[in-house]
Amino acid sequence: MAEVVPLETAVATLVHDGDSVALEGFTHLIPFAAGHEIIRQGRRDLVLVRMTPDLIYDQLIGMGCASKLVFSWGGNPGVGSLHRFRDAVEHGWPAPLELEEHSHAGMANRYVAGASGLPFAVLRGYRGTDLQGQTANIKPITCPFTGEELTAVPAINPDVGIVHAQRADRAGNVQLWGITGIQKEVVLAARRSLVTVEEIVEELDPRPGAIVIPSWAVTYVAAAPGGSRPSYSLGYTIRDNDFYVAWDEIARDRETFRVWIDEHVLRAGRGESVTA
């Protein structure tokens, strides 16, 4: 059964230096509050896994928390580059960042294999691309029935999977709706998991299109109201598009970035929602 604990406790217990950690949320329900807690606790040498690194990984990378990134699209959606990510790749600042690069279809299938307890997934993908030559984890495979050449990618089973959701009940059952992305697969693929939620309620009443992740499949649930900002939680908060645009300037310069992190993450009070 999932235990409902404070965010600080959950991160301190679950995330260790050197762990592989997947904070997911495909453009929606991005677990910013949990990412900020990882920064505050000063984790190092993490293998960060995420389909769309987004601003939260720009922040973790810029603060030197990561040694490797496993991903499929590293940009600021609708705006442009992730400058801290680029600085790490292009100049090794603040530390060199090893990359393992995939396509979205490949990453999605890797999580599905991880959640399914299979060693790898098969897809019709990557064929003819240069990604095959750069990423050792992309291999051709022949269909044993038809002889068709397909592509295999290994399962992802991160040490820790972290997602944000709209709600949980007191027993730790988690409910989320809207763009559900890859949330369920990450929680089921991970060895340990944390779900931060907008609120903890007495009872989960039905919502259109909602999925429920049963309590016993989750390690920790932590309340983090507003914890997906500047991303959003459908029905609770709206996406702060202006902040995504503003981040371009903040992250462009190392000093401006550090000042922003100091003010908005490091000095932010515990349990207080971190906003732009």
Partner: protein, 261 residues
């Protein structure tokens, strides 16, 4: 009404889409063009965004593929594995609409790295996203990209998404089920592959653009297709619809706290 070259590009791209088609859309120019088509001549166009929103009908342009407006207006919202495995991979989608940082003479797309080598590139781009499988599995691909020598290169520094590979027969050899890039729309004109060699050549010039200008902006010896035509200029209706779309407020109105907290 006078228009900019970007407006001409977006309108020319929108015209490629027809009502009843199912279109996989990326953010930026493709999303603008697809929504313009939906607001003008192709109201029945089905828009799919890789965030899992099928049949999204946004009333303003989303900044990201995850904007709430896409989920709130969609016919169905599915998970990310489902959108790629059940919807894209089997070839259910008619048109894939892509952008590019580099595009080579065979329509191969680079969105990964430019210059240097992979490990220490001069410019690190965002990477693949959904594009490799969109380029492989949609029945056809339309690329929308501004025309310049930096973008239109003889050989891409990195092939992120395959067009025609190194020429005729490559897509078949690789087992790519879709037909590949059918049209490339730029701010100068329209390109399409030569049916024999698969090399991109110019089929249309936008009004006021010369063949020399297009060649000057292309990193290979750009050929003109027989019957090189001039693109019809934007109509007042098209321009008005495009401007209404791009000036619509991007803020999503609050739907209230449905969570009750």
């Amino acid at each position: 009404m006078s228009h900019t070259s970007d407006e001409m590009m977006t309108i020319a791209a929108a015209r490629q889409l027809r009502a009843g088609q199912v279109c996989f859309v990326g953010i930026g120019l493709p999303s603008t063009a697809a929504n313009l088509a939906r607001n003008t001549h192709a109201p029945g166009l089905v828009l799919i965004y890789e965030s899992g929103t099928i049949g999204a009908k946004p009333d303003h342009l989303p900044l990201s593929i995850g904007d709430g407006i896409l989920a709130e207006t969609a016919d169905a919202v599915v998970s990310v594995p489902e959108i790629f495995n059940y919807w894209l991979q089997p070839g259910r989608i008619d048109v894939g609409f892509l952008g590019a940082a580099q595009l080579d003479r065979f329509g191969n797309i680079n969105t990964t790295v430019i210059g240097g080598d992979y490990a220490s590139p001069k410019v690190r781009l965002p990477g693949a996203g959904g594009a490799p499988e969109i380029a492989a599995s949609c029945r056809e691909v339309i690329v929308v990209v501004r025309h310049s020598r930096r973008t239109f290169v003889d050989k891409a520094d990195f092939i992120t998404s395959v067009g025609y590979g190194s020429g005729p027969g490559d897509r078949e050899r690789l087992g790519l089920t879709g037909a590949g890039p059918a049209t490339v729309i730029t701010d100068l004109g329209i390109l399409a592959p030569d049916p024999e060699s698969r090399e991109l050549r110019l089929t249309h010039l936008h009004p006021g653009v010369t063949l020399d200008q297009a060649r000057e902006a292309t990193g290979w010896d750009l050929a003109a297709a027989p019957g090189l035509a001039e693109t019809a200029p934007p109509s007042e209706h098209e321009l008005a619809a495009l401007r209404a779309l791009t000036t619509a407020t991007p803020a999503t109105p609050s739907r209230g706290n449905q969570g009750g907290g």
